[in-house]
């Protein structure tokens, strides 16, 4: 029997057969818990990510209370957190744990798993025209490894010595020596275990995303007919597959140092007046391994949102995306450069200045593809017939944030300026704007836009507008002033700045920032209320294609079943951006090209 013939009777077509006949009996467990349906897994990722976002956001509110009001005593804090907030004041150990966990949770659990997990799962099969992922089982495993990682990380918040508190990058020697701090004890081990599980989840997901995109496209869906969302997710997944394992290897060596008495990262250390026997190691080695993932990681966060924004913007401007091929090429360039710039996080580690200059050049080069993308978004909006719905507003907000944050990247990418700016509030402002707030804006755009596909209902628009404007204004009020604090040399991660003469000028400013942080957190709770309320009570979607979009997900029924299309998978005849062509509002991808149709 030939290979080809065997596979036709193999698992893949067998599953398809099941969807086809509809005798695929689903129990509550198989439908809502251990689901292998990409749409359900997407919702699971989204909701788990939202839970984490609330936890991580709440942490930032708590440490902003400390930063804005270092002298305040709030008895209710002690009621909730006990000795961690003795006398109603957040204790230093608690403060460091909050900062560390805020970073870990937001970077990995929300903006990596919550974002890619949601939109890769939801959109890949829909938009390439597949009934499900290449391996639905692996896809389910990916989610459940994420849940396991979440449980371990959550557990670490409740142990006696508290969670990891050495910063989200967990640099040794602090992270390698259990006696170095409270957070370096069991909390650090749980952090590493959780992250190992998380890496497994990301790899299982990533393998599936890439092989589905490259192997499961429907008839006619050539690579250059794919929507930019799918391209963005493809690059994201490749980045993840190639960079997470390196992080993993860094963690393995860290675990060896912690528990087997090795000295990969340790040398010449004095701890509490005692000289440690470790010799021959180098903590800088960890930084190299960490940032080899750490830098691609920021693109793992931002690339999917670039895809989402391109798609939602084009639909709501009723115009084709400007420079489709340039968009792909610039994403490719960003993905490639992502691997070549990691040492710009390490300019002040005593690196050879010549090597530093190479990394400066490569880092500044990223400005080119980024600028191409910004130019293309702006030209997509140019003379568009714009529908200012919440999804579109968040797209425009994304571009605004991406420009603001991208420009400060040019400052930090310069090794000489970085000597002054390194580890100051300028860095905090830069990365929060360019990958934190931007990524959230892109994600919100995606949620508002695809909510009707996920739940068959719309989210409330009024609440959406409030959500957008408050978020946008608060984001700038929080992060813009931090640039000035950074210029003035205010270092990040300090517990209390009020005793420094040079930072006293910022006392009132820090209060404003904290106030805006709390307000923006509250408005996110309103968004979650809108989300949950709309699942059950939102206005119903009455047509298959409510936004007038061209892509394949809008050819499925309003509430698609397992397998997505009730009949055959539609064939694709054109690219995904035929808006406003030949006097037509839009022409969807399944419409054959007419004889006298103009070329795009």
């Amino acid at each position: 029997m030939s290979n080809e013939a065997v596979i036709q009777h193999g698992t893949v077509s067998h599953e398809v057969h099941e969807h086809h006949e509809g005798h695929h009996h689903e129990t509550f467990i198989s439908k809502y818990v251990f689901s292998q349906d990409h749409k359900m897994i997407a919702k699971q990722f989204l909701i788990t990510g939202m839970v984490w976002a609330v936890i991580g956001g709440l942490m930032s509110v708590l440490f902003r209370i400390q930063l804005g009001y270092p002298d305040a005593h709030l008895p209710w804090l002690e009621d909730i957190f006990g000795h961690w907030a003795k006398d109603g004041k957040i204790q230093p150990e608690f403060y460091y744990a909050l900062g560390t966990m805020h970073g870990t949770i937001l970077v990995f659990f929300v903006l990596t798993a919550g974002l890619s997990g949601t939109f890769a799962n939801l959109l890949i099969p829909f938009q390439v025209g597949a009934r499900d992922m290449a391996s639905p089982f692996m896809n389910m495993l990916s989610y459940w490894f994420f849940v396991l990682a979440s449980i371990v990380m959550l557990a670490s918040l409740f142990i006696q010595t508290g969670p990891a508190s050495g910063g989200w990058t967990v640099y040794p020697p602090l992270s390698a020596l259990g006696d170095a701090s409270q957070g370096s004890k069991l909390g650090m081990d749980l952090w590493l275990i959780s992250m190992a599980l998380f890496v497994v989840s990301q790899l299982l997901g990533g393998l599936n995303y890439v092989s589905t995109i490259l192997n499961m496209r429907t008839k006619g869906m050539t690579m250059t007919r794919l929507p930019l969302t799918v391209w963005a997710i493809l690059f994201t997944a490749i980045l993840g597959i190639l960079s997470f394992p390196v992080l993993f290897s860094g963690f393995i060596l860290l675990l060896f140092d912690r528990h087997l008495g090795t000295s990969f990262y340790l040398s010449d250390i004095v701890l509490s007046g005692k000289i440690l026997p470790n010799e021959g190691g180098s903590p800088i080695l960890y930084q190299h391994l960490f940032w080899f993932l750490g830098h691609p990681e920021v693109y793992i966060i931002i690339l999917p949102t670039m895809g989402l924004v391109s798609e939602v913007m084009s639909i709501n401007a009723r115009k084709p995306i400007f420079g489709y091929m340039a968009m792909i090429a610039s994403m490719f360039a960003i993905a490639l450069l992502a691997f070549l710039v990691w040492a710009h996080h390490m300019f002040v580690t005593g690196m050879n200045p010549f090597l530093g200059s190479v990394f400066v050049l490569l880092t500044l080069l990223i400005a080119v593809p980024s600028a191409i993308k910004v130019f293309n978004w702006l030209t997509t909006l140019w003379k568009g017939n714009i529908r200012f719905n919440p999804g579109m507003l968040f797209c425009i907000g994304f571009v605004s944030m991406f420009i603001s944050g991208g420009l400060t990247g040019i400052f930090l990418g310069n090794s000489t300026l970085d000597i002054h700016l390194h580890d100051t509030y300028f860095v905090i402002a830069h990365f929060h704007i360019v990958m934190g707030v931007s990524a959230f804006m892109g994600m919100f755009a995606g949620i508002y836009h695809w909510f009707p596909k996920m739940y068959g209902r719309y989210m409330n628009n009024t609440l959406g507008y409030i959500h957008f404007w408050v978020t946008l204004v608060c984001a700038y009020v929080i992060f813009w002033p931090m640039h000035y604090e950074g210029f003035a040399g205010m270092p990040r991660r300090y517990y209390d700045y009020s005793n420094w003469e040079s930072f006293k000028q910022f006392v009132e400013l820090n209060k404003v920032i904290s106030f805006a942080a709390i307000l923006s957190f509250l408005v996110q709770l309103m968004f979650i209320f809108n989300f949950i309320y709309s699942i059950f009570k939102g206005r119903r979607v009455t047509s298959k294609n409510p936004w007038g979009a061209t892509t394949l997900e809008w050819t499925t029924p309003i509430r698609p079943g397992h397998g997505n299309w009730p009949g055959e998978i539609p064939e694709v005849h054109r690219w995904a951006y035929d808006y406003g062509k030949d006097g037509m509002d839009f022409i969807d991808q399944t419409t054959p090209v007419g004889k006298d149709e103009s070329k795009h």
Binding site: A134, S211, F244, S282, F292
Partner: protein, 187 residues
């Protein structure tokens, strides 16, 4: 519905991607090793002889898994089972020899762990140890497919899982040969 099957099977494609990830992990570790080697405090070493024999064992197992795959394709099921079992046995022997090798290495005064260990030796344990974990993963996959071949009431002639395992097995074989040469040259 017939799937478009001119292209590579998605599972095989996923496997190749996964292998790329594993390569990156070992590339990360071996580049860390190279960087560390150029810094002061490095102590050079030679691996115990048993690692040469374990290398031969894993090389032979690659041949046996290939014979098993060929037998499966020709539906010579008893031959397939025999060579699959031999492969698994060779895998176990390889792991045992590696572990013995670690003990000999540590016993010869080259401490890999604990007080007075040197990162040079620790790297051997970390990298070769991680490789063993990958062999173990291969053995588990081998066992699952092997027992499925016995357990089914109806014969399962799907060649894909067997091909996946063979590819993976060759990969971990080549990976070890690379690591062995790496440790031998850059000691």
């Amino acid at each position: 519905m017939t799937m478009q099957r001119k292209k590579i099977h998605p599972y095989k494609f996923s496997l190749w991607l996964g292998l790329a990830g594993i390569i990156m992990m070992f590339a990360g570790l071996t580049s860390a090793y190279i960087v560390k080697r150029s810094q002061p405090g490095w102590q050079s070493f030679t691996l115990p002889t048993i690692f040469i024999y374990s290398t031969l064992v894993i090389l032979v197992s690659s041949v046996t898994v290939q014979v098993a795959l060929k037998a499966f394709r020709e539906r010579l099921m008893s031959k397939y089972r025999l060579f699959f079992a031999i492969t698994a046995a060779l895998g176990l022997i390889f792991i045992s020899m590696q572990i013995i090798g670690f003990y000999q290495f540590q016993a010869s005064g080259k401490k890999m762990i604990g007080l007075g260990s040197n990162p040079a030796y620790s790297f051997v344990l970390a990298i070769a140890g991680l490789h063993i974990v990958h062999i173990l993963g291969g053995l588990i996959a081998l066992a699952i497919v092997f027992f499925k071949a016995f357990g089914r009431k109806t014969r399962n002639y799907d060649v894909v899982p067997v091909e996946l395992i063979a590819t993976y097995w060759h990969f971990v074989d080549i990976l070890w040969v690379y690591l062995f040469v790496f440790f031998s040259l850059l000691h």
